[in-house]
Amino acid sequence: MMVWPMVVAAVVSAVCAVVGTMLVVRRMSLLGDAISHGVLPGIVVAVLAGGRPGGMLSTVGAVAAAMLTVWAAEAIRRRARLSEDAAAGVVFTTFFAAGVVLISLYASRVDLDPGCVLHGILELAAADTVPLLGVAVPRAVVNGLVALAVVTVFLAATWPAQLFAAFDADAARVVGVPVGFATTGLLAMTAVATVASFEAVGAVLVVAMLVVPAATAELLFRSLGRVMAAAVAIAVAAAVAGYLAAWRWNTTAAGMIAIVLGLCYLVAVLAAADGGVIPRLAGKGWLAWRVACEDVLAAAWRREEAGGNAAATPAGLLFRLAGSWLRLRGKVEGPTDRLALTDAGRGEAETIVRSHRLWEAWLGRNVELPVDHLHPPAEWVEHYLGADVRRRIEEEVGPASSDPHGREIPTERG
């Protein structure tokens, strides 16, 4: 294991994460994909003209190719009667193919490996060093840091416009914010990020490094500043972890970094506190459990009211489990299918039945529903009424009245 390739991976990942955050929040992820393919001929021509894959000349070539990609896609969309995605599909595959063909035709003269295009060669990128303060630092690190500085300065300088364009591009245009400039600049920055990462991860995998950290961070945070900071942190961590995994299992670092990023995203989708799959399922499950417990208690209360002749405890696995739990808590006792309330459980049960009948009474008074239609909504609402609401309803329907079925509404306890 070497440290420098890891540093290269971390730096270029950070550049991509910063640019990618803006692409993701502006719904331009696929444009980022198109550009990262489209810059290839620009880089190849620059290298043929004597530039280095990550150097100044290739950056100029890449930005030019990116602008050409975007311009051509827009021109084709307008003039060829095609939708945006079809136009982009035509252009970026053509540009990428042209780049690959150039490499194949001038293979002997180009210092570019086809493998470099497809997945980058991190060790090679780290091997080309320049002396910096007496230390041999990989050129890719220097280029990456310069790219990071360029991208950061650009975003900082245009931040209000970027922010406005990201959340309401139309409103921004109306009040005279230079949205077009902000957007074009962002696409140029995408090209800068692609060139900086080209040697390390290739032109194809850049899309993973652009989009996945930002998409992951977006699931975890709401404010744009935090999303960007988190995206950079995730990208750097994934770069380090991916490089170590690639070294351990002897494979391409760029591929492993993409896999680690994918795992980060998966974890965020599943576990994000705000909207994650697991918290959402847990919330639903907890609610179903609470409803089942309350239904068991209310059924026991009604049976008590009817002198033991009413319906049995609701059947089903969930209700059986709920019954066992309530028995454990000392709130019910007796045979499983005919649970009876204890003194400890009676109060809670009464509150639920009270909620139920109050709601029926309220519906009967205020909504013209037949009496036999009042039970089902009350069966739901009984689980959601708090003491305040119950009091308000009682004030409206009159104290100590009975429900529309003629049964007594229990009074509030405690």
Binding site: I76, A86, G89, V90, T93, F96, T252, V269
Partner: protein, 292 residues
């Protein structure tokens, strides 16, 4: 070998059969692609295309065999899984549609690259051949392989033509189709599955990175010639046929030229010619007249 000799060996070998298979793929991919282009879902196949790689690598690693049908079966499984992943992300997360596609595309391509490089680094015999699926290579296709992809193409083509009415309706007016009681969701899924099948069948020719061009560019070219669907399907098929043949021949004649980029550039040329012809024709028409 001189280009002359290459061309001769090309004609002598069973290359003609291989070229026939590849041309069938070109036709079927182009015809299926018309529906994606018309429905503004041109890039639906791109995520599936990149996702074929991990499937190919896994099929090889698990079975240890490298017959094309084994690898393509793996590719089909992972391509379908990727489409399922995109759908799941759209439904169950806050991530937007474009980012969902980009995530699945990028991560599955990375997984494929890591798996293939890992196999090659371990010196597993035959694993180096998997790299041909990145940019496409028809040089290694056997007679059976080209028969396989030709059969898939003909089958897909037959399904599309049999369901032409349904597909047309959903392509042009999904809201009406739904109101008229057509199972729009299922027709939609079937079209996506057919596109995915053609992407899988075309991966040996064009490679995972560029294969999406085979379902996008010929339909885009055909769109310049006509406004009606049946002629558009025919023109797209013709463009797909010619450009895949041209790509196969070019990559056989030019050393080190992968098939995928050659096929793509051939169809791009057809697109540019088509666009140029249409623009010339419309510019000659007196102003004020709408397009046909």
């Amino acid at each position: 070998m001189t280009p002359q000799e290459r061309l001769e060996s090309l004609l002598a070998h069973n290359t003609l059969v291989v070229a026939g298979g590849v041309a069938a793929v070109g036709v079927a991919a182009a015809v299926v692609g018309c529906f994606g282009v018309l429905r503004r879902r041109a890039l639906v196949g791109d995520a599936a295309a990149h996702a074929t790689l991990p499937g190919i690598a896994a099929a090889f690693a698990i079975t240890g065999r490298r017959e094309l049908w084994v690898l393509l079966a793996g590719a089909a499984v992972s391509a379908i899984a990727s489409l399922g992943a995109v759908t799941l992300i759209r439904r169950h997360s806050r991530t937007r549609d474009d980012a969902a596609t980009a995530i699945v595309l990028g991560v599955s391509y990375g997984a494929g690259i890591a798996a293939i490089s890992g196999l090659v680094a371990r010196g597993v015999s035959g694993s180096a051949g998997l790299e041909a699926f990145l940019l496409g290579s028809t040089a290694a296709l056997t007679l059976e392989d080209s028969l396989l992809v030709a059969v898939i193409s003909v089958a897909v083509l037959a399904v599309v033509l049999a369901g032409l009415k349904e597909a047309t309706l959903v392509a042009f007016d999904p809201a009406f189709a739904a109101a008229a009681g057509w199972p729009v969701g299922w027709i939609d899924a079937a079209l996506t599955a057919l596109t995915a099948s053609m992407v899988v069948a075309a991966v040996p020719t064009a490679g995972a990175v560029l294969v999406t061009a085979m379902v996008v560019i010929p339909p885009a070219a055909a769109r310049q010639w006509t406004d009606r669907l049946p002629p558009m399907l025919a023109v797209a098929g013709l463009v797909g046929f010619v450009s895949s043949l041209a790509g196969v021949v070019a990559s056989a004649v030019v050393p080190k030229l992968a098939t995928g980029p050659a096929v793509v550039l051939a169809s791009s040329a057809a697109f540019l010619v088509s666009l140029g012809v249409r623009l010339l024709r419309t510019s000659r028409r007196p102003s004020g007249m709408s397009e046909p």
